[in-house]
Each structure stands twice: as C-alpha cells, then as structure tokens.
C-alpha cells in the first residue's frame, strides 16, 4: 500500500503589488511513497521541497490537486494523529522547558496522561537530550532545538514521519545519530519522508529518492536506478614522479606535485588504473570519489533544466 500518494498537488502564488502575476512554486506533482520506505526528497534551495511538505501538512492550501496519507484524505484530523512533522528550522515556545513542550504536543496528539510522561522521557533520551530539566527552550542551542523538534515528531509514535531538513544545524556526530534514528524508525515499520539538499545523507539512507528543481519533478527512483546512467569520477594518487604508460592511455590528466602524482579518471576506469600502477610497481596512496554518483546525477539534472530554461528565454 502507498503510505503517501500525491496526486497532482500544485501551488501558484500571486506576486507583485499592483500587477499581480502568478508565480508557480510547484508544478503538478505526482508521487507515491510505499509503506515502510525511507523516501528522500531532494532539490536545491528554493526548489519547492518545503512548499510540498507544508501542503501535505495542511499548512498551505494547494492551488489544485489532492493527496492521500495512509489511504485517507490528507487533511483529515484522524490522519494527523498518525503523522509526525519536523518543520524546517523548528522554533518553539521560548518559555517552556522541553518536557513541558513535549507534554503539550502529547496532549494535542491525544496521548493519554501516564503514557505521556513515560514517552516524553523516552524520546528525549532517544534524541540525545539529557540534563535539560528545567531549562527553557530559549536557552537551547540550534542543535538542541533541532533534537527537540525530532523528539516532538516521533513522540506520539506516528506511522508516517515527515522531516524537513532533519540534519540542518547538527554537528557531524549529531547527523550520525539522526541517521541512525531514521534507520531505527524504518525498522519499527514507519514510513519516513524527508527533504534534504545534502546528497550524502540521502545516499546513505534512502530506499528511493525524488529530485525536484524549480517546482518540477526531475526524476524518481532508487538511487541505483537513477545513477545507472551517470558515473562519478575518482581521483587516484600514487607515489613517485612517473606516469605509467597504461595510465596515459586512459586519457587521464596527471599532475605531479612533489613526490606524488594525482590523476582524475572516470569510475569505470578505476580497475584499469590500479592494474597499470601495479604493473609498474608504483605505490598507490588513495582512490577517492571526486563526486558521488548521486551528486553527478543531481548536477546533470539541474544543469539540464537550466539549459532548457535558457532556450525558452
């Protein structure tokens, strides 16, 4: 069953003061997210990711189109009890403590009293917020607020979780923890829909991704499917000053710096390059992907859309 089904949601804003002109934030979007999936919604800044999420949450009304969540109409309050939402750069009531805040959200979501107290402690621990008893939220750092935001999204044990940029504002360790948390949520059978512009996060987590740019969907599928057409580049570094003939024949541009040589070749030539180095008995120092293949795909799609837009003008 599809957990989330978006059927042609679109949004047009009217901009301008005297002469109102329509500006399309989102072209009709069709998307289905399966139950139990981690779905990544990717796009550069201003692509329409947040608009889509806001529409799904009923915070912004779509110009046209509809959606279903868990098989029901998306603005049905019954559905809302089963979804969790983390807004972009969450900001909460300044004068509450994290416990009070979560208690309040628990009340709104209809979590019964005694259960609520236990849950609050449990989620706070889960997102790594400890030692914050009695501290008001205005004294929280950005990362702590982000964690509190994630806590409120999973507090009422929702079946579908929507996260808007869940990793923003977190340090590397925090990002790692959030990644693990998202994977745990999937293991508990929840569906996770998150937007991001950080591709490595998507690559590490998502079963499927959708790429959106300027309000238009550019591609949907599993990462393997999407990146089959593009291959990334790798940077090969070896010790010495000589460039083996096998390397030259690969058409790689080699740069000698001091005692090392570096060459950038495509991923498919990687094995041939290693063989060439081995034949010459050169010591390989590193092979590093210059760009992950999802990134190559992403960049290609975005550049493509820019050139087509350019020809239209």
């Amino acid at each position: 069953m599809a957990a989330i089904e978006i059927l042609g949601l679109e949004k047009t804003y009217m901009v301008g003061f005297w002469h109102k002109r329509p500006k399309r934030a989102l072209h009709p979007l069709h998307l289905a997210v399966q139950d139990g999936e981690i779905f990544g919604f990717l796009g550069p800044n201003g692509a329409g990711k947040t608009t889509t999420l806001k529409m799904l949450m009923g915070l912004v009304f779509p110009t046209a189109g509809t959606a279903t969540i868990l098989g029901k109409d998306w603005i049905d309050p019954e559905v809302k009890a089963q979804i969790g939402f983390l807004p972009e750069q969450p900001y909460f009531y300044d004068y509450l403590t994290a416990h009070e805040l979560l208690d309040y959200y628990g009340q709104l979501s209809g979590v019964p009293g005694r259960e609520r107290k236990r849950r609050v402690e449990q989620v706070l621990e889960r997102v790594g917020l400890t030692d914050i008893k009695g501290v008001q939220l205005r004294k929280f750092s950005k990362g702590m607020l982000q964690r509190a935001g994630i806590a409120q999204a999973i507090l009422h044990n929702p079946r579908v979780v929507f996260l808007d940029e869940p990793m923003s504002g977190l340090d590397p360790l925090g990002r790692r923890e959030v990644r693990d948390l998202i994977l745990q949520l999937q293991q508990e059978g929840k569906t996770v829909f998150f937007s991001t512009h950080i591709l490595s996060d998507a690559e590490a987590l998502c079963d499927r991704v959708a790429i959106i740019n300027k309000g238009e969907l550019r591609g949907v599928g599993s990462i393997e499917e999407l990146t089959k057409s593009v291959q990334g580049k790798v940077e090969v570094v070896w010790q010495g000053t000589q460039v083996p003939a096998g390397m030259k024949s690969l058409g790689a541009e080699c740069h000698v710096t001091g005692e090392t040589v570096r060459a950038v070749i495509s991923e498919s030539q990687q094995d041939a390059a290693i063989d060439a180095l081995r034949r010459e008995r050169l010591r390989l120092i590193s092979i590093i992907p210059v760009r992950t293949s999802l990134e190559s795909y992403f960049v290609e799609k975005l550049q493509h859309s820019q050139t087509t837009a350019g020809t239209l003008v």
Partner: protein
C-alpha cells in the same frame, strides 16, 4: 476536541505568564491603586469613593490593555515564529 482547546488555552496562559513583559501593566495597575490612597487623602470627605473609583478604573483599564496586547501578539507571534506549524500538523481543527 474541547480538551484540546483547554490544552492550547493553558499553554497560551503559561506563555503569557512567563513572558515578563506582561508584568509591566500589572505593576502599573498596582501603582495607580496605591496612588488612589494618596489622592484619596487630599480629597475632602470622599476618600473612600476616590479609592474605589481609581482602583476599579485601574483594574478594568489594564485588564483591557493586557487582553488587547496578548490578543494582538497571540496569532501573529505563532505565525511569525512558526510555532503554529507544529500545532496545526496535529489533530487539531482550525475552526
């Protein structure tokens, strides 16, 4: 649903109480009530009346001021600070 309205109301109240800006009008109200006693002393024969009048005026006037100021700030603050998002994405009806 009524329970949810009560929860929201309680939360709003708690926010308002902890937001110390609101203590200003309350302090003013107390000041005027205290002033009533002195003004009452310089009036002839009608001391009680002046104290009662000024006291009641302070209560009603500052009651209105507090209500208006909280009322203005309430929804706009929630929208501006985007705290509304996490409330409206829960099973709460808008009207």
């Amino acid at each position: 649903m009524n329970a949810r309205i009560a929860h929201i109301a309680f939360n709003t109240f708690r926010e308002a109480v902890r937001d110390r800006v609101l203590y200003n009008p309350i302090a003013f109200a107390l000041l005027i009530s205290a002033a009533a006693i002195f003004i009452g002393q310089i009036s002839i024969e009608i001391e009680r009346l002046v104290v009662i009048n000024l006291g009641l005026t302070a209560v009603s006037l500052f009651g209105v001021v507090i209500t208006i100021f909280i009322g203005i700030g309430l929804v706009s603050k929630e929208i501006e600070r985007r705290t509304l998002y996490t409330v409206l994405s829960r099973p709460v009806r808008r009207w």
